[in-house]
């Protein structure tokens, strides 16, 4: 309850400062519309925004899912064959250091202007933090427990199911949390570069029309999407990861 009150208070202060800036600096609507104008733009265009939100959600969620699945598979392979890490990590670093805004046009050339190129953009943004966190989980496996499983003659499938996956769960959720908000950013960047649908497209097309109120409304919706992703994962983390482990 106290937490909710703090959030509401924070939003209220932010809106107050925003409105004060407009009044004090006498800013025109095309530079900074008032909170009321943004809300009005949201209300008038909600069907359009909803349509584009669905597209961005699909792209970012798919990219997020693929990136994390690949990370888990790679981390599991590295758990059994540690030498592969030396091969994978440099590639992951190269992917990470490439500015996504620079390679997004290439992805559109390679994968077309449709949804798939945006899914790949989103996936590339999520991949590195997800891999690093999942790998950390694999490296932190309890050596004693590993020996214990060895003593009982466990096979690889049992080891993954009974030990590795439950052990890396806290790290896995950290990876999911970090990549959840990044996935939305990745999809938006892809849409900025070449698309005729999605929230990124809506932002860029309204920016050209100087419809700043709608741009801000769309930005707010994409933020809400990222935050929702994060909190859905947080909810599942609380459900599946032990309280004692969360408090460490």
């Amino acid at each position: 309850m106290n937490n909710l009150f703090n959030i509401i208070l924070g939003i209220f202060i932010f809106v107050l400062l925003w409105q004060s800036c407009i009044v004090v600096l006498e800013l025109p609507t095309y530079i900074l519309p008032s909170p009321f104008e943004v809300l009005t733009a949201l209300k008038l265009n909600w069907k359009t925004i909803l349509f584009h939100t669905e597209i961005t959600f699909y792209e970012s969620f798919s990219g997020f899912l693929i990136a994390n699945l690949i990370s888990i598979v790679i981390a599991l392979i590295i758990a059994f064959h540690q030498k592969i890490e030396d091969l994978v990590i440099p590639i992951a670093i190269v992917i990470k250091t490439m500015p996504i805004i620079a390679i997004a046009p290439l992805l559109i050339i390679w994968f077309g202007p449709g949804l798939f190129s945006k899914i790949v953009t989103s996936m590339l943004v999520c991949f590195f933090p997800s891999l690093i966190n999942t790998l950390r989980g694999v490296k932190c496996l309890d050596r004693n427990l590993l020996m214990l499983f060895k003593i009982y003659g466990v096979n690889k499938k049992q080891l993954i199911k009974m030990f590795i996956l439950p052990s890396i769960l806290p790290f896995l959720f950290a990876a999911l949390k970090v990549s959840s908000s990044l996935a939305v950013v990745g999809a938006l960047v892809g849409e900025f570069i070449g698309s005729n649908k999605g929230l990124g497209f809506l932002i860029i097309s309204n920016y050209y029309n100087m419809n700043t109120a709608l741009v801000l409304a769309t930005v707010a919706v994409s933020s809400i999407m990222g935050i929702s992703f994060y909190y859905i994962i947080h909810f599942f983390e609380k459900k599946f990861v032990l309280r004692s482990e969360l408090s460490i």
Binding site: M147, L148, G153
Partner: protein, 246 residues
């Protein structure tokens, strides 16, 4: 009958860095044997070799006429580590049944019998973090017995437990040994613990470890009075004298 036979075993970790050199000893079936020695002399290495965890060594080790690796595969070995090795996301009973699940054996009721032996029936549904360290180790001992192994290997199981509770745990361990009659090999730094619990004590030299002396311990009965007996103090004196030269 000799259950464990260790003959001229040498273990080299790095080139010229020996943990064990020409180690030879044997353990009678059903006996309780403790291994004591200076810090870092290779006591845990011996347990790892017997447990089949470390497989590269020179020499000959047999557990009921089988190599440790084979004995491990045929589940003749129960192992308890220094630190309680429990899965934090499983409750007590599911931790005990873990070896059964791995082996595909569905005799889960045996876990409740073992909980009775370690006197922790009430903790069946508790999570490991709800138990004290001593209790966690007792759960580990119960788990190590679930596949009915021939040998129980204990690597300083009570090393981080306070003196009073340690005494209780030692008594509990004696009772478990009495009830199950499992051949038990205990590595410990506590000479009191070794003398109190064991039928035989193997004293090792400093690294690379060799057997310095084997002492047979003989008490009519084991209870707290034993600690104050002349016999107990004599055993301690002998062991301390052997170790002080190392």
């Amino acid at each position: 009958m000799k259950l464990i036979e260790v003959n001229s075993v040498t273990k080299e970790y790095a080139r010229g860095f020996y943990a064990l050199k020409n180690l030879t000893f044997s353990v009678e079936e059903g006996s309780f044997v403790s291994i004591v020695g200076p810090f870092g002399c290779g006591k845990t290495t011996i347990l790892n070799l017997l447990g089949g965890i470390t497989e590269d060594y020179i020499g000959n080790i047999k557990i009921r006429k089988e190599s440790p690796a084979k004995a491990r595969k045929t589940r003749k070995i129960g192992y308890v580590f220094q630190k309680p090795a429990l899965l934090p996301w499983r409750n007590v009973i599911r931790n005990i049944t873990l070896p059964l699940e791995i082996s595909g054996i569905e005799k889960y009721e045996k876990a409740y019998d073992l909980l009775k032996i370690v006197k922790l029936e009430y903790a069946a549904k508790k999570m490991p973090h709800e138990l004290s360290r001593g209790m966690q180790q007792l759960i580990c001992i119960a788990r190590s017995l679930i596949l009915d192994p021939d040998v129980l290997l204990l690597d300083e199981p009570f090393c981080s437990i306070d003196e009073i509770n340690r005494g209780k745990m030692q008594n509990r361990l004696l009772e478990i040994h009495k009830q199950t009659n499992k051949t038990t090999l205990l590595v410990t730094h506590s000479l009191n613990e070794a003398v109190y619990l064991s039928d035989q004590i193997i004293i090792l030299t400093s690294r690379p470890a060799k057997v310095k002396r084997i002492i047979d311990i003989d008490f009519q009965e084991r209870n707290e009075k034993v600690f104050f007996s002349e016999k107990f103090l004599n055993y301690l004196k002998i062991i301390k004298a052997e170790l002080s030269n190392e």
